[in-house]
């Protein structure tokens, strides 16, 4: 007999402190012991987590109005530019922004010691941050310049808004050339010297709800150590690619745009990140609870590393030149074993995203729900899924406005 469970029923149990919550790692063992049907009836919620560099992250800030007033045109926080082309004292600070004078890769692979991600971490850690802004004067905003120090608690708003987080699966990067290269997936040694991957695999949120049946607009989540929400599907959301028989995409697919109040987040879960030879980023802690509405949802959450496959992509030529194709698929179980075989060669693997931190996030979220502090939300609208027809376009280069 099929069974159903509603969000309202789950939340009633959470409020009474009776909800049965397990992590996406724990549920695997339970299913091996008791089978899907029994565990689906027992477990109300499965929690997921991920902690990796997520470049498409940033924060909307409102600094408050000084006297006399200024309509900020250019804004810097600790020397890192924020986008001020919005209202008078609003700005958006992006995670990958660099200080104006950063040496970048001009003298070999840059170290990228400080940037937008680090400013965000400084703010969350309650460290004072230097604000500089310039402007042209208007009748209502006469001021040309301001320099001061701000703290997270004094400014009016700090809204973390990350347009593309929590990638559902991702490339595994390798290097077929004969020299070391530096990428957003880290250092890649020559001649297939290593394979670098970045996903929490069986713990990763969107790999546990592959068709976005429960993760949608309005879903309440763990974000940066606090509470956040899914705002929209993320940029480059691409749900229509190839999937395995279990529904899990065989490469980068869905993404999430997420939002939350930075003031209640924690520096432990939002870390400024330096990627040698590439740039700065923000390592984001993100966890999503998945309601077990029926057996199908339980089956999705019981997915194991052995059943999740990622494509091996050459980052020396194929990726930078935008060439299609890959060097084969490899499972996260193989990646986590420490070595894989590529073209008959044993290649050591290394992660870029922290599995222990992902596990800890799933555990924290589980405890919040068990304590009755965190209720589940039914999505206001679902995200585009495999039947949406979404196709990712490449950028076409044309001459002139009308092109040819």
């Amino acid at each position: 007999m099929s069974f159903k469970r509603t969000y309202a029923e789950i939340n009633e149990k959470i409020k009474k402190g009776q909800a049965v919550v397990v992590t996406a790692e724990e549920v695997i063992g339970l299913v091996e012991q008791k089978g899907v049907a029994e565990v689906a009836r027992e477990v109300d919620v499965v929690t997921t987590g991920t902690f990796g560099p997520m470049c498409s992250s940033g924060v909307f800030l409102n600094f408050g109005h000084p006297k006399p007033r200024i309509r900020m045109k250019k804004v810097w926080l600790n020397g890192v530019a924020a986008y001020a082309g919005i209202a008078a004292v609003d700005a958006y600070l992006g995670a990958t922004e660099l200080p104006d004078n950063d040496p970048e890769n001009k003298h070999g692979p840059g170290r990228f010691l400080y940037g937008g991600g680090h400013v965000i971490e400084d703010l969350v850690a309650r460290r004072p941050v230097r604000l500089e802004a310039t402007a042209y004067p208007t009748n209502c905003y006469p001021r040309r310049r301001i320099e001061t120090t701000i703290t997270l608690d004094e400014i009016n708003e700090a809204i973390l808004f990350n347009p593309r987080n929590a990638y559902q699966n991702y490339n595994v990067a390798v290097n077929r050339s004969n020299k070391t290269i530096y990428t957003y997936l880290g250092m890649l040694k020559p001649n297939l010297g290593n394979a670098s991957y970045s996903s929490a695999g069986q713990l990763s949120p969107l790999l546990n709800d592959p068709y976005f049946r429960t993760i949608g607009i309005g879903t309440r989540i763990f974000l940066g150590g606090g509470v956040g929400y899914v705002a929209w599907h993320g940029t480059q959301h691409s749900p229509c690619g190839t999937r395995g028989e279990n529904g899990v995409p065989l490469g980068g697919a869905g993404t999430l745009a997420v939002v939350g109040n930075l003031k209640q987040m924690k520096p432990e879960w939002l870390r400024g990140t330096s990627l040698t030879g590439y740039g700065v980023s923000l390592t984001v802690g993100l966890g999503i609870p998945i309601p077990i509405l029926d057996e199908e949802m339980l089956r999705y959450t019981a997915v194991r590393d052995e059943e999740i496959f990622a494509p091996l992509i050459d980052y020396s030529e194929d990726f930078p030149q935008g060439r299609p194709g890959n060097l084969g698929l490899v499972s996260y179980a193989e990646l986590k074993s420490g070595q894989i075989m590529i073209e008959g060669k044993v290649v050591p693997t290394n992660p870029m995203s922290s599995y222990p931190a992902a596990r800890k996030i799933a555990q924290i979220l589980k405890e919040w729900i068990q304590k009755g502090e965190f209720l589940l939300t039914e999505p206001v609208a679902l995200l585009p899924s495999a039947d949406s027809g979404i196709k990712l376009n490449s950028l076409v280069e044309r001459n002139g406005v009308n092109g040819k």
């Binding site: 250092m187 400024g272 990140t273 390592t283 986590k336 992660p351 922290s354 599995y355 222990p356 931190a357």
Partner: protein, 137 residues
């Protein structure tokens, strides 16, 4: 055989002398220089792995100390900030001797100080800047 990692600190005057040459030639010691900061007419420091017969090793160290070189064992020189390390595992790709390694299946990053050559690659590479070098003392 004695095998030890040592830190040598030279005064400005000693930098001009071929000390390592004498150490190898007169005391039959094997020298593997890990890091050197030697500049004309300035204080210098050198980290190396020194190995040889016990009596030669002792005599070699006495020779260095006799010249006024400060010799200290190299220990705890690369340190990990346990609060900052997220155990992502990125560092395991740059460590040339496997001193930083993945524990499986926990996927936590282990750090074996005994194996560490203090090359500093992890210090500059760590995405969260959790590794640091503490010099000699």
């Amino acid at each position: 055989m004695v095998n030890q990692k040592v830190v040598l600190k030279f005064s400005a005057a000693l930098v001009e002398q071929p000390i390592i040459y004498r150490l190898i030639k007169n005391y039959d010691l094997m020298v593997n220089i890990i890091k050197a900061e030697i500049n004309p007419r300035r204080e210098g420091s050198l980290i190396m792995e020194l190995s040889g017969q016990p009596d030669n090793f002792q005599s070699g160290i006495s020779f260095l100390e006799g010249l006024g070189v400060v010799v200290e064992p190299l220990s705890q020189t690369v340190v990990r900030d346990e609060e900052r390390c997220s155990h992502c595992g990125a560092c395991t790709v740059v460590c040339p001797v496997g001193a930083l390694y993945m524990n499986r299946p926990s996927m936590e990053v282990g750090f074996d100080n005994e194996k560490c050559l203090v090359c500093g690659l992890c210090v500059s590479y760590c995405p969260l800047k959790a590794m640091d070098v503490k010099w000699g003392d």
